[in-house]
């Protein structure tokens, strides 16, 4: 009956949340709740964005000048804080995307069989 945690989901890797938020805001400005939902949906419900991670991350990004906040009303007529990418944020997004691709590529290289690993 209770909102049980889905077995299928995965904990975030430390450092990936910023990237996901920035990327999500590139599409369009959004409030926190919507950002989380968007990330979860766009990942086919693999990624899980906890509120206790989301809001500190949002505040962190504002502090660093990568996103900017503005008060507004949600689609459901509730008070909400809309966030948008700043130009510094766009630059940061490019940097983090590159870094992620390099890292994912490197790990993929290690994960698949290395030449010489299997006896000839």
């Amino acid at each position: 009956m209770s909102t049980r945690r889905e077995e299928n989901r995965i904990d975030l890797l430390q450092g990936t949340l910023d990237l996901l938020i920035l990327r999500t805001l590139l599409a369009r400005p959004a409030h926190g709740h919507a950002i989380a939902k968007t990330i979860e949906r766009n990942s086919d419900d693999v990624l899980q964005v906890e509120q206790g991670s989301l809001y500190p991350a949002l505040h962190r990004l504002v502090r660093r000048g990568w996103i900017a906040a503005e008060d507004g009303l949600s689609e459901n007529n509730r008070r909400a804080k809309y966030y948008r990418l700043t130009s510094k944020g766009r630059k940061q997004l490019r940097a983090e995307t590159t870094k992620w691709e390099k890292l994912a590529g490197a790990i993929a290289r290690i994960l698949r069989p290395v030449s010489g690993e299997v006896k000839p």
Copy 2:
């Protein structure tokens, strides 16, 4: 003159080092120093494995029963601790590999343009 940190390298994401170590030991047993070198080489020198991360990770994996240690001598005739995968470790490696692939796939999905993002 001094061993300056390479600009090109990337910090590890929290949680990835275990996977890399296990995967490296699947190929063959090795001592700590060699594991680090292997990871760095196999990633085309993108990944950097710091000693302060490596040894705690190794001890952690032993504690969890995923790898086992044995004293021996290195190729250079120095005292060294050789680590090998246990069967529990092999199982863990499979689990972590799957998890990584799911996660990397999910992030990749978010990173590339989503349908509907660009105005039709």
